[in-house]
């Protein structure tokens, strides 16, 4: 599989997470300055230079379990829709545009994001269509067999009730693809000798222009933009969320011999993150990613026991309790490992967690 997949996956999922956080913060009427601080803190952590350096190193994409630890609840609400390889390039850029929108008042963080953007264009700008196709196939492996239904997707008719995504047979074509229907015949000299049409069954239109890859530009596509930016009525309940969680965990729960490697990846990534200390006495607040507290409890109850870890509450400040919880979670992973493996790597992991 492609060794260039992790940054795209992380940045896209991170971007999706920010859209969701932004929507939840507004839905729960968190005061504007607090909301901005939450997003600023998360974004500056995500785009921290050391963290980004680790992320951009060529490496294989580890299993869902490792990334799930970082994004936890995110998996319920963010399934990436992947179209043609060229659209993925744009999608990563568009998410970056939105992130810049969140932090427009903070020049330092903006600079971090721009630097990451430069790195993105450097690495991915030079890749061929074939390499992007491989990245895309690698990403699709990551999402294979997860049939999680998302209420906003169901509402927008982007997803069917059986979990499958709608693939429309109309609309704009990718840049470089012609409208299907034409058969052209040439002779030995390369001159066109016949032109015929056939009925192709869809109803497509050519792309108006190519999207921009510049730092600021017209992206043309909507992929990667915030679905929550359209006003919608507040959902009264999340349909099917709890059954889907159970279905999702039916994949193999057997101890993964690679868990050690994955935890080390996690440690490197998290270890590279700088956590800012709070500047003054600021009360933290708890953000609920479900629509109501009852749903959150319900989800916690129906979560299968095999999933060893508990809900991680996102807080605007770091405190001792959270660190202890994180260390305990890491310690629980430790139990899954094969007994013959040496304990030294695990100790390093816990030690690093304690320093956070």
């Amino acid at each position: 599989m492609s060794v260039r997949t992790l940054p795209l996956l992380f940045l896209n999922l991170g971007g999706e997470m920010l859209y969701i956080l932004d929507q939840r913060l507004r839905a729960q009427n968190i005061p504007g300055d607090k909301a901005r601080k939450v997003l600023n803190d998360i974004i500056s952590t995500m785009f921290n230079r050391k963290f980004m350096e680790e992320l951009f190193k060529p490496q294989e994409l580890y299993s869902k379990k490792a990334l799930r630890t970082v994004y936890d609840r995110l998996a319920h609400a963010s399934i990436m829709r992947l179209n043609q390889a060229s659209m993925d390039k744009h999608s990563a850029l568009y998410t970056t545009d939105a992130i810049k929108g969140f932090i427009q008042d903070s020049p330092n963080i903006l600079h971090q994001v721009d630097e990451t953007f430069q790195q993105l264009t450097e690495i991915y700008g030079g890749l061929s269509a074939g390499e992007f196709q491989l990245i895309r196939q690698t990403l699709l492996i990551f999402f294979q067999d997860l049939h999680i239904r998302v209420s906003i997707f169901l509402k927008d008719k982007v997803q069917n009730s059986n979990g499958r995504f709608v693939l429309p047979v109309s609309g704009p074509l990718p840049w470089g693809t012609k409208v299907p229907g034409l058969i052209r015949t040439f002779n030995n000299k390369g001159e066109e000798v016949k032109k015929a049409e056939f009925k192709h069954g869809g109803s497509y239109v050519a792309a108006p222009k190519e999207g921009s890859f510049e730092l600021y530009g017209d992206r043309v596509l909507k992929l990667g933009t915030n679905m929550y930016s359209v006003n919608r009525p507040v959902e009264t309940h999340m349909s099917g969320a709890s059954e889907n969680l159970a279905a999702q965990t039916q994949e193999s729960i057997a101890p993964n011999p690679l868990a050690k490697e994955e935890l080390n990846l996690l440690a490197r990534l998290i270890g590279g993150m700088e956590i800012k200390k709070p500047s003054g006495p600021e009360p933290g607040f708890r953000l609920n990613l479900f629509t109501t507290d009852e749903e959150e409890e319900q989800a916690a109850l129906t979560r299968p026991e095999e999933l060893f870890y508990e809900a991680i509450n996102i807080q605007a400040t770091q405190d001792q309790q959270t660190n202890e919880e994180l260390a305990r979670i890491m310690g629980e992973f430790e139990i899954l490992d094969q007994p013959r493996r040496s304990a030294s790597k695990g100790d390093d992991l816990l030690a690093m967690m304690d320093e956070l």
Partner: protein
């Protein structure tokens, strides 16, 4: 007109690879074998004419050096003069089995020596040519294996250099095609194999104890994931949804079809009647009739049928009989093989 037949359930869903369906038609007993890649495993199953599944088997990619479990890139049956072998390519190497997948007869580990850390290392693109099996590589090289009439004494006979980017697919003339070929002045130049790669480049070869590169057909900026060869006509499907037909001996472009709205993922041939099947991620499968014009012998094509497989990101498609009256389709994340037959 085609109608949907009963689907065949799969144990694992199909992975989003190109050419992700192989079909072996066995005239004896009227059985059809299907092979689909799930990810780290591939599923083989055999079915009776009505689609009733009879037997199934899962094959795993052979472990080798590396951290994560290896992924399979393709599974394909190779019909040779005296035997049929099942070939499986992965990110570790090439595995060859007896046709029912029961016994592995050969394992070739990939040598990642030449690759930089940034490149993915894998084998992809499988075809039988006479008593040879040819397999493509991430480096662009094509390995040629000499297969004995029976037994495991398989030997790597040649390594072909023609491509600089990863090989995507390989096609060879179906055996009966060569008999019906128009006689050419110089038999030494009969093209009987074509290889394709991620840059869209096609290389046309003549097989033999030493394979000879006859001509190259340059790409135009998009990958060519799938290619077929029939009676001197090359059919190539591209990442921009186009199907192009070339004269194999000269490399001249004769037909350009704006066939699909998304990247083409599979092409297949029904050699008895010269039918071509194209499938793409736009959810459509199209069937075309290839022919040669009575005056001049130029390649011509006519559209026969289009089928929409709703909300399915098609990743594999094959005819299920040599006359092209039925075909099967796989889709990303779909745990069944969809079947269609003409009414």
């Amino acid at each position: 007109m085609f109608r949907r037949e009963r689907s065949i359930p799969l144990r694992g869903s199909a992975a989003a690879l190109c050419n992700n369906l192989s079909v072996l038609q066995l005239p004896v007993g009227n059985l059809t074998h299907f092979g689909v890649v799930h990810g780290p495993s591939a599923q083989l199953l055999s079915a009776a004419p009505e689609g009733v599944p009879l037997a199934q088997r899962q094959l795993q990619a052979q472990e080798g050096a590396g951290v994560s479990p290896p992924l399979i890139t393709q599974v394909h049956w190779c019909v040779l003069p005296f035997r049929v072998l099942l070939v499986l390519t992965s990110h570790r190497g090439i595995q060859m089995y007896e046709s029912d997948g029961s016994v592995m007869v050969y394992w070739h580990a990939l040598d990642a020596g030449d690759s930089s850390l940034v490149q993915a290392v894998f084998a992809r693109g499988i075809a039988a040519s006479g008593h040879f099996i040819c397999v493509g590589m991430w480096s662009g090289r094509v390995l040629v294996f000499d297969i004995p009439a029976k037994g495991p004494n398989i030997v790597l006979s040649e390594e072909l250099a023609g491509h600089q980017t990863p090989v995507t697919d390989i096609a060879t003339e179906p055996a009966q095609g060569q008999l019906d070929c128009k006689p050419l002045e110089n038999r030494d130049c009969v093209a009987d194999m074509v290889t394709a790669d991620d840059s869209g480049l096609l290389c046309v070869w003549r097989s033999g104890s030493e394979f000879k590169l006859l001509t190259r057909i340059p790409g135009f900026g998009v990958p060519c994931p799938s290619v077929q060869l029939w009676q001197g006509t090359i059919a190539a499907g591209y990442g921009n949804g186009q199907v192009r037909l070339y004269e194999a001996s000269t490399g001249t472009l004769h037909v350009q079809i704006d066939a699909h709205a998304r990247a083409i993922c599979a092409l297949d041939l029904a050699p008895e009647v010269g039918k071509l099947l194209s499938a793409a991620e736009d959810t459509f499968v199209h069937i075309w009739k290839l022919s040669r014009s009575p005056e001049g012998g130029y390649i011509e094509v006519e559209h026969c049928h289009g089928e929409c497989v709703p909300d399915t990101q098609v990743c594999g498609a094959r005819f299920c009989d040599p006359s092209g009256s039925s075909f099967a389709v796989t889709g990303y994340d779909l745990a069944e093989i969809l079947r269609f037959s003409s009414m």
